[in-house]
Symmetry: C2
Subunit: 413 residues, 2 copies
């Protein structure tokens, strides 16, 4: 069964909004065994939407539309549905009542414009929206399923996961493509390829892709086969080979994140963590605590952006700063040690670097960073160069710190 | 002149990667007066790419491809170009030499596989890549321009901005669509619409869109007209109306961010800032320091995730925590005051809340958050409810803190 995704909004064609929705939908439906064949973006125009919906219903079994369900006048999706399916809009009191209650819970009065959100095409099912006012709409007829979801990613995702996927799974055929992802960190794409290539033998229908990101390079294994079992088996062989060849760089599988793995390692061993961040100024702490339940092992930290904070809060000596500079091995070690004793944690990580665009020199160009680690047994720092772009430098430094801790805990050299 | 964007990669159709590239390109080219008519995604298949390239060259003046330029075997774009344009690949020693130097600067040996990166189609121009190994490729023939860029967003963006846009601007026609964005914060989409709608009169060709995000709702004004001047004038009228109606919620224009505005306000007044973060654990600091040069006004802060850190570092009294709880007005005020005196800054912001999924109660459900602000004149906190999803709660809390500071500095009630 083919899926077509249509994202609605002028902002998509003008590029003002990044279309994360179509990828999210493709990923979730792909995992559930559906194949996405077409992705289209149309503007906020009734004619363009009508044309796109008609075409999609002709060539695809399942059509999923996102966007244009808001209460304001630039939201036209429901009007396009009415035209394509020739159905009237019906008022649903229970939807409005639910909205009223939710506004009241937040101590707010519901703006009257939200009454529009209670209008749905006749004989459509609706999927509740936990986080917003626009419910999902589902129309099934003539062997086609047409689903319209809000464009706000958080709301779309909740409805898709909780409602749409279970709904579609009742229609599901077996998957014929098996996907496995091995997540690596601490090694470049090209260096990884050099290790993998010499012994690599790809069976027919099996593919390997290298997908670099700030946290590292994902190795994506894709095996297509007549039946899912054969696909899984073929993929499994390649996964085994990759684990033998570059296993020490692999921290997790599929959607596992480095921060969640760190959380498991700390939690399982009853260890605690603190951070001392200079150039990242909170990004490391934010990543660590993006994991629900991280309060079990994460105590907190110090954002030592100014040197005064390094001295006064973390106990870095002014002489050290004068002689070695804030971006130095010695400073990173002192920050980690200072943080560990200040917070009384088992581990402390520190980051100090030159994120740019200013502040670089010949000796220490932009990107120069030291990551420090202190534990009961060790206090050391490692030099990195994370490139030349501010945003990338800070993100890479944060993940490199997590990788340093992973290797420390697992004793990987 | 019509532009077609083609993004390459199995991961796009499977949804494993979000296609930020096509939006970025559309935005930058839109700003330069080009119209994007088609956006297509194809998988890593030579046949699919060839077909997509042929079709694009038939219907569009400018074709921009991203992805598939890496050194590894799953990167097929150059092979597809060779087939479509019937040109050989030529080795460019200067490209390889430049790569060797860059690896050496980071203290690394260049993996041999990168030699592939020095192969370009005959008679193609190339655009240097500051941040990676794949140069951009440009082929112009028969009144068509075909440009191939790497898929890594950072690299693509740099080449697009520094090379492609200036290149295309030499071919440019005048823009006939004028876009202006007013960025608001501290008010819901529906409440904003209720204030705007009563007096709103839209001229023909003028549109208004509401685009909600974590930092607030953007108001996008789009005016199409025969000539750019008329478009600007039409848009200007609507902008004036919006400024009169909802001006106090507008913090900036177009790509201005709340954090950059805060930076200007602090920098211009020679004021300094510190943060005390509980549930956001660094996100606020990270957002503030995403602005280059933020060390001029941002000193640092304390990540007080555990209550011990609130007590020991920020001086929040254990009695207060016992009686009111960590998520309370009193605690937020004490955190902000403690941070301000600890770091000696003019302002301090604090955030304490329940980010979930655990930790909520009937009295204080998930999403309950207090934002605190301390200055020489004031110390107070405000209650918010930022919804029910962890990621959104933390992001909204961070921006709400910045908005509280903006209003304090500008004395907006």
């Amino acid at each position: 069964m083919n899926v077509e995704i249509i994202t609605v909004g002028d902002e998509l064609l003008l590029g003002y909004t990044v279309d994360t929705n179509s990828s999210y939908i493709a990923r979730q439906l792909g995992a559930a065994g559906f194949t996405v064949r077409y992705k289209t973006s149309v503007g906020d125009s009734l004619d363009a939407m009508e044309e796109a919906f008609q075409l999609a219903l002709k060539r695809s079994h399942i059509v999923i539309v996102t966007g244009g369900l808001g209460p304001t006048d630039d939201d036209l999706t429901k009007r396009a549905i009415v035209k394509v399916f020739k159905r009237n809009l019906i008022f649903h009191e229970e939807i409005l009542e639910d909205l009223r209650i939710r506004f009241a819970k937040r101590g707010l009065e519901m703006p009257a414009i939200n009454q529009n959100q209670a209008l749905l095409p006749q004989a459509a099912e609706f999927f509740p929206n936990k986080y917003g006012s626009a419910v999902g709409i589902c129309i099934a007829e003539h062997g086609r399923v047409f689903i319209s979801l809000p464009g706000v990613p958080l709301e779309m995702q909740q409805i898709l996961d909780d409602e749409v996927v279970p709904y579609l799974e009742r229609l599901k055929l077996n998957s014929s493509i098996h996907v496995a992802t091995l997540r690596t960190t601490g090694i470049f794409e090209s260096a990884l390829a050099e290790k993998i290539k010499p012994g690599l033998r790809l069976e027919p229908g099996v593919r390997l892709a290298y997908l670099p990101g700030f946290s590292g390079v994902d190795l994506r294994v894709m095996a297509s086969a007549a039946d899912p079992e054969e696909g899984a088996q073929k993929a499994g062989k390649l996964v085994d080979y990759l684990e033998r060849t570059v296993g020490k760089y692999i921290y997790g599988r599929d959607s596992e994140t480095l921060e969640a793995i760190i959380g498991q390692l700390l939690g399982d061993n009853d260890k605690t963590l603190g951070v001392a961040e200079s150039c990242t100024a909170g990004q490391l702490g934010m990543i660590i605590t993006s994991v629900p339940g991280s309060s079990r092992y994460f105590f907190g930290g110090v954002l030592a952006y100014a040197n005064d904070v390094k001295v006064n809060q973390l106990g870095v000596s002014p002489e050290l700063l004068n002689e070695q500079g804030a971006v130095s091995e010695e400073c990173a070690v002192a920050m980690a040690q200072g943080c560990r004793s200040l917070l009384g944690t088992d581990y402390a990580l520190s980051i100090t670097g030159i994120a740019g665009p200013e502040g670089g020199s010949n000796e220490k160009p932009v990107g120069t960073s030291y990551i420090g680690l202190a534990s009961a047994h060790a206090a050391r720092a490692r030099l990195f160069n994370f490139g030349t772009e501010r945003h990338a430098i800070r993100a890479r430094a944060s993940y490199a710190a997590l990788e340093m801790l992973r290797r420390e805990i697992l004793d990987i050299k």
